[in-house]
């Protein structure tokens, strides 16, 4: 099964987003990660790498990120990691929800899950 990692500058935001996504994609493994490791705002590549390992079971991992430096740190983590991971170019919460649902499909692949996450850009809320 494809795993998900949610990276935010705020650990709280990452955990809450994972909560919301988990509601919709019950079985999907979703690992939240965020914060600068000192209780502040930021992202740390080592922590992201640990999150990748935590959800990786060989079927690939899709990474959701919030802002610019989370993207760069996720990039670094993916380079260091053994997991076959890819960053989705998607809004972090909406993409995580979409991805969590997509990952429960029996036909899900890393790229189909990423595509669904990226489709969250086009969600009309109103």
């Amino acid at each position: 099964m494809v795993g998900l990692v949610v990276v935010s500058h705020s650990r709280k935001a990452a955990e809450g987003i994972a909560e919301v996504a988990t509601e919709m994609g019950g079985d999907t493994r979703i690992e939240p990660v965020g914060g600068d490791g000192q209780g502040g705002i930021g992202t740390v590549p080592d922590d992201i790498e640990d999150a990748l390992s935590a959800v990786d079971n060989g079927d690939g991992v899709v990474v959701l990120v919030d802002l610019g430096s989370a993207v760069m740190n996720a990039d670094v983590a993916i380079e260091m990691s053994d997991a076959d991971a890819v960053i989705a170019d998607a809004p972090v919460l909406e993409g995580a929800v979409n991805a969590a649902v997509a990952a429960t499909s029996p036909k899900a692949t890393r790229d189909s899950v990423r595509e669904q996450a990226e489709a969250a850009r086009d969600i009309d809320k109103l």
Binding site: H9, G35, D36, G37, Q38, G40, I41, G42, T43, V44, P45, D46, L67, G68, S69, M72, N73, D75, V76
Partner: protein, 234 residues
Amino acid sequence: MSDEGQAVVAAVEAVAERLEAERSYLTELDSAIGDADHGGNMARGWNAAAEEVAGLNDPDPATVVKTTGKTLMSEVGGASGPLYGGSLVFASAEFEDGITAESAVAFAETYLEKVQDRGDAKVGDKTMVDALVPAVHTFKKSVETDDLPPVEALAKAVAAAKRGVDFTVPIRASKGRASYLGWRSVGHQDPGATSTLYIMEELLSVAQEQLGVEEPAVDAASPTVPDGEEATED
């Protein structure tokens, strides 16, 4: 090798001290167009790196640079973490056969390449790239075309970086947090470009100490590091 390693350790310590001194100014710059943490990010990261490399046992220069980069990557929770840290780790390989004028140019180019790879910023986006590009181009040309001794080439690179920093003031940010401000970023100096300049200034001053400023044709391939205080403490 060991002398070169100690020279780089000294450089890391000098950078850490300088960034600690500039902590509040860098944060002031970042508070105008970012999230007011660049001073803290840099000081914390480089202090940790200085501690880390001081503990290395007779390291070669590549190891010191790599360790510095890794420490920055884990200690700095912002954009400057992967940009400075990741690029140092990547470029450190250029020093595996020691520090020469040639390998220093290769290091500078590889470092710049990685920063741009990672952050996708071009000149004019109002980032550290605006300081780095003129610095690296000037360093390379000074060494390769003008045949200047490394320390002189580095001095020219620092002057070029300074012009890059000044250039960030009147332009609009297109990358990083400052880009969220759009036109309101115009008129403010970029923190990352500024810290890049400070780091280069410290590298220059350590190089001047280590290689001797007066010696005009010093050969960086066989550096004459004195058995001085800076070079021997571990």
